[in-house]
Assembly symmetry: C2
Amino acid sequence: MSTVANPANIFWHDNLVGKTEREKLLNQQGCVVWITGLSGSGKSTIACSLGREFQARGKLSYILDGDNLRHGLNKNLGFSAESRAENIRRTGEVAKLFADAGLICIASLISPYRKDRDACRVLLPDKKFIEVFLNMPLQLCEERDPKGLYKLARAGKIKGFTGIDDPYEPPLNCEIEIQQKDGLVPAPNEMAGQVVSYMEDRGFLEA
Amino acid sequence: MSTVANPANIFWHDNLVGKTEREKLLNQQGCVVWITGLSGSGKSTIACSLGREFQARGKLSYILDGDNLRHGLNKNLGFSAESRAENIRRTGEVAKLFADAGLICIASLISPYRKDRDACRVLLPDKKFIEVFLNMPLQLCEERDPKGLYKLARAGKIKGFTGIDDPYEPPLNCEIEIQQKDGLVPAPNEMAGQVVSYMEDRGFLEA
């Protein structure tokens, strides 16, 4: 009786070429590597390093970068709590599609709230959601400040900035946590290697 | 000074593994096959047939089905003109990501408004947007009525139904138009073959 979505009128279409066939073609298993951490913690760096490593092994991966998505799919969203949640929700749904397509989808977003990340995890059962927590000290991220955003946040020119005046909720049960060792940040390929080893051990890199 | 997106604070991250590398890995060219037409015109059928044909040729494709997306990415959208536009916009943005990932992305949506489809086309320059118009008569679609939706629309139980009380704007410059021949609907593999031939001729099926 209305123009509002009625789930009863939206049908599900099964595609006859399924995930299994696509995974065989690619000789890998579709999944999501979800990289979370503060701004400046090195998410994009490890994402790119991972992408190169997969390509070198002949595996197909694709990076969903939070900032890049805000230029396209999520360009109509701001940074209120509600918009951030919708930003993560859409990214999670797209990541799920990529995993279903057979790709190793690398999502790289601050994704500060546990609830929002966990909602994405639920979309990908059977351990296909690999949460990677880049656990770097705020002080380090702020010293790096690659985009100059911490400076703006400290000056009050950006409100609701994660780590400054908005919380970052660390994962409670992530698959992989990356930290400093003896006060040193691991090299990008070392961080990526930690993720690749995890995936190799669990058979993600073959069909 | 606010929580609203400030484009100046959203950076673009270039990934060092680019589209070209992914296309080489897959030996194909990322693109979008956008199938538009009335409900019941056979969009899902040709999409599935295309998917099987690509798989048989060792090519990686993925179907974005309008109805399926409304269970996930677009589940917070209704059927108002504004929501329909946003539904198409998001689908176009996701299709663009899949094409960038190197896949042949098959988008299957009624997508009734020319303006919305053309906005998606703009996202994919260099002839990477292949619009396929399933030009089947309303009467035929209504006779088929695979989901029983025309019946509901005629009974006034669904408002704003494309072809009944909401317009379908046919493409003016689509790449491929599929019609009845001598009063007969082509077989699904024949329709798919028309699309595959088009793509083969233009080199999409090799890197």
